[in-house]
Amino acid sequence: MILDLKKLKLRSVNEKLQNIDHKKNKRDFVISNPEGNHAVCAGLTENIDVTIKGHVGYYCAGMNQNANIIVDGNVGTGVAENMMSGKVHVKGNASQSAGATAHGGTLIIDGDASSRCGISMKGIDIIVKGSVGHMSAFMAQSGNLVVCGDAGEALGDSLYETDIYVKGKVKSLGADCEEKKMSKKHKTKLKELLKKAGSNIKPEQFKRYGSARKLYNFNIDNVSNY
């Protein structure tokens, strides 16, 4: 079913996708002419397939549950923010805060993601085939961030338990983020994640980064700083 945003209002398109009629058994949708609109496909809850043909604005596929959303174009700020489950695949570039605060599901970005990719992520798997900008995985709590290109400044600043894998150069690591050993368990996990994104790159080419866990507890030696 084709939903043309030149003819239909964004709100009616989102309402339709949020309230799927189970009797009709329609599970394939195409959205045409998104023209940079914000919040396209926000708040979907059903296991449906949606392809967006073109570039979209902010918070595309935000809060997604179960839906499989493909964006044939670029996305603005906060794609798949607070996603719970499902899959979002961006074929172009993503702006800042991609996958922010997301609890689950998979976000695949074929191009580059800009700054703060995976900020405060809480369980999502993010695979970026290009590079990510500064402050990526800031305060990231769990899940995996895979970067096939380079990472910008202050990667993983104030990190909790997210695993970060980067193939290219890291401009700088943020506070409490350090390079970690890549064990067999991590290689297996990374291979699985890369496979999900359709990538053949070998896990051995990546480095793993994680939390040094020095910011977890209050350190009495720092008391004079407060």
Partner: protein
């Protein structure tokens, strides 16, 4: 918030439709800036005539025309709503003091190619008021304002022009503008508002006396404290700079015919062949420029 837009034409193909292209961009950025809007449009500067863009405020066009004709050897005065483009072969050092004597009008910009129009009200009303759709040119910059740190007035609207054929639009806010204004005033710069962006424009004009645009903006990274995406126009093109934290958005679309920049992609969705354009975000702290 605020919205900023700009187009630089690489080929002559769209020169006649430049105004129409910019107009749609401004209107679609109304959600980011409903308080006032403005634009600077550049036309080729092959002749020696200077153009002075003036907002008449409360003065009537007839009165202004009569009074200015007594003082300046004119080639033309063109009225466009409450703005006037005064065209003269006389140089700025002669004309600017004369215009300063008119207490009620405001000079919004001058140069051989630039024309600036700005006013309070929604962007859709402002572009209609000045008939932006009918403008042609080589490049143009626009702004829609959501006022934060100074009042909603014509003086508080962007673009700001503080030098010949120069202008600046800004999305963001500066925190050291009062100190910088004091310093620049000591060096002879003049300001007509309390606005932070006007200080940035004055800073750029002052620096351009000694440096080129790229060097100026690179120096600005350490001298201007705050959040910003700037588009700064000159007679030959424009440059874009985002602060190093990249608080304020910007997206660029480049085709073989034009380069467009805006705060959000939706402002460019109507541009010809934009879906095949190279679309990217300018990286923080890096100066991007087009034109000579």
């Amino acid at each position: 918030m605020c919205g900023i837009v700009g187009i630089y034409l690489k080929s002559k193909k769209f020169e006649k439709s430049l105004g129409g292209m910019l107009s749609k961009m401004l209107v679609s950025m109304e959600s980011r800036g409903p308080d006032s809007a403005g634009f600077a449009i550049y036309k080729s500067d092959k002749n020696k005539i200077y153009k002075y863009s003036i907002c008449l405020n409360d003065m009537s066009f007839e009165k202004f025309k009569n009074e200015i004709k007594k003082k300046v050897k004119l080639t033309n005065v063109e009225k466009n709503s409450d703005h006037v483009i005064l065209k003269s072969i006389e140089k700025p050092n002669k004309i600017l003091p004369i215009l300063e004597d008119f207490s009620t009008i405001s000079l919004v910009g001058y140069g051989k190619s630039i024309e600036i129009f700005k006013q309070v009200g929604s962007p859709s009303n402002v572009v209609k008021k000045f008939n932006l759709d009918n403008f042609s040119g080589t490049h143009a910059i626009g702004h829609t304002r959501m006022a934060t740190e100074s009042a909603i007035t014509t003086d508080g609207s962007h673009p700001y022009s503080t030098g010949e054929d120069e202008c600046l639009v800004h999305n963001g806010s500066l925190s050291n503008h009062n100190n910088l204004r004091r310093k620049l005033k000591k060096n002879g710069s003049k300001f007509s508002s309390d606005n932070d962006t006007e200080v940035a424009a004055g800073y750029i004009s002052d620096s351009l006396k000694k440096r080129n645009l790229k060097q100026t903006l690179n120096k600005g990274l350490s001298d201007l404290d705050g959040f910003y995406t700037f588009i700064t126009g000159t007679h030959s093109g424009f440059a874009v700079l985002r602060d190093e934290i990249a608080c304020k958005p910007a997206v660029i679309a480049e085709t073989k015919d034009y380069v467009a920049i805006s705060s959000e992609f939706q402002a460019m969705a109507h541009l010809p062949n934009v879906n095949n354009a190279k679309i990217f975000e300018p990286e923080p702290g890096i100066v991007y420029s087009w034109g000579k």
